[in-house]
Symmetry: C2
Subunit: 326 residues, 2 copies
């Protein structure tokens, strides 16, 4: 895993992934006490950065392998990212999803051209068993959500853009806050910045109670979360940092930051009001850290990556109404 | 008023106004029955395209005039656009607003650095009288919201970007739908496309009951609206097309399109769900026409400009919840 793979992925993504802008607001600067630059990956195709990794992985396959098809396990953003990337390559995609996933996510994944295979999570059926059987039968290639070099390379293209866009605004150093699940995006951006903006430092951000990466970085060993459910920040809840991403984060990242769910929701409401973008709770933890944990951040400017915007209307409506008076 | 003024404005805006991306969604394409390209000016500084015209006008003044200061009449997006543009130039700005304008808009305009002068709309006080007195006393330059060549030139830079960004996606012809109030943005984009994408045609879009531009274009003479209040699409409600903008629209635009308020709200909800952007009701009428009036549109692709995103949390929350099941 190295910077050349990220640059090669950027070439393959060109004209296909969206180059999201870098947004600012004087109102957010005032709250944070420093300049806040927001990278809105919620505006990426399928509403999250996951399309980058999906496209990178699918486009890196040789043609015969790609034609045979790909498979992914996901009930969320990775599913949609891989589904659209595969569809645009004319490659079959099977997405294995829990039968009790929200109907909208199942419908969307199908509408993006993927074949959805449901498994009975509650009944103890293993998604790996279901997926392995289909993969072997059809010769599908598994695309993992983060422990996969070409996926990390695709996510890392976000970092190449941040380095260039921040420099255009005169920002060359400071902390880059990234909403962190398994660490694919975080480690990819860290690698990109090591090459293109070495005075910038990536800091993973997580919700309280699901701070496996922060604890892993602090202890130097992979730590797990006690539970994987019960958070509105579901998009970035993973069991533990990845085997490939953890060494990269250990080498390149600063200490992790942890925000409360209420702070994440407040950041969502401010992104609505001041930036006019739709961010999901898990995608707002980095902005929450930038706004409400400034004492733990270094530099006159801070970059926050808003990683996704796939949030239910009801959650979004309740959140922006609740924080309307702030 | 000509294309050279727009190109000169683009030079002055470079590095200051945001180059908004061009967004797409396969889900919107399916509803529209053709490819839909969305230009999200809600992501512009201050949440609407008005910053372009404000910056263009302020930056076009000679230094002594600019130092003396500028003045604008507005309770909405133009106020904020001019306020921020002036502040970034270090120029004083006076914004004359009705005393009964929403407190948030008054507070925002002040926070952007402008001096807000309130007048008593209900008591019959004339904003022109209030404004004229201040202007003469202090030597301020009035920046009109649309009947002002340098403002039209600034708004027209949106058209230069559309021509280039659509061409990158392989789209060189078809209708370009623009939410239309006084016609500054509409005529500016029309001039830009005449030069850079002559096979594209601008179509103004208005809400039912406030279709002064559509009727004016049809009759060949300036027509007024019967009323100027009572619409959620307040951002684009003006008494009549401008004296400078109407001749440009007459020469360059196709027939107007009219959508219902419910269609505008539905488009807002779909922009939330599929594009992850926040659009105000008046800023969503063009997208509504693209999605729900396809029989009156020509071409395999359509461009819709979402002009602003300054919407109250309550209106937005109610709208996305109402249309959640669609």
């Amino acid at each position: 895993m190295n910077i050349d793979m990220i640059r090669a992925a950027a070439q393959r993504l060109k004209g296909h992934a969206r180059r999201t802008p870098l947004l600012t607001s004087p109102f957010l600067d005032e709250i944070a006490g420093r300049q806040v630059l927001v990278k809105p990956e919620c505006l990426q195709h399928t509403g999250s950065f996951k399309f980058r990794g999906g496209w990178s992985a699918v486009s890196a396959l040789d043609e015969a392998t790609r034609k045979a098809g790909v498979i992914a396990f996901s009930s969320g953003n990775h599913a949609q990212g891989v589904a659209l990337a595969a569809a645009k390559h004319g490659a079959p995609a099977v997405i294995v999803m829990p039968a009790d996933a929200p109907k909208l996510k199942i419908d969307n994944t199908r509408a993006l051209g993927a074949e959805v295979v449901l498994y009975d999570r509650a009944g103890g059926e293993s998604r790996e068993a279901v997926g392995d059987a289909i993969s072997q039968e059809r010769g599908l290639t598994l695309i993992r959500p983060y422990d996969e070099p070409q996926v990390i390379a695709g996510q890392g293209t976000t970092g190449l853009e941040i380095a260039q866009q921040a420099a255009e605004l005169g920002v060359n150093d400071g902390d880059v806050l990234v909403c962190c699940g398994g660490g694919g995006l975080t480690s990819g951006i860290a690698l990109a910045l090591e090459a293109d903006a070495p005075a910038m430092r990536v800091r993973p951000v997580e919700p309280e109670g699901f701070d496996d990466v922060t604890r892993s970085l602090a202890s130097g060993e992979i730590q797990s979360n006690a539970t994987q459910s019960g958070s509105l920040c579901d998009a970035i809840i993973t069991p533990a940092p990845g085997e490939s991403t953890f060494p990269l984060m250990s080498r390149l990242c600063g200490t992790g930051l942890v925000v409360s769910e209420d702070e994440a929701l407040h950041a969502m409401a401010l992104a609505f009001k001041r930036l006019k973008i739709v961010v999901e709770p898990g995608g707002a933890v980095a902005l929450a850290a930038a706004l409400f944990h400034g004492d733990k951040i270094e530099g006159d400017a801070v970059v926050a990556v808003c990683t996704g915007g796939n949030v239910d209307a009801e959650v979004f409506a309740n959140t922006i109404t609740k924080f309307d008076k702030h």
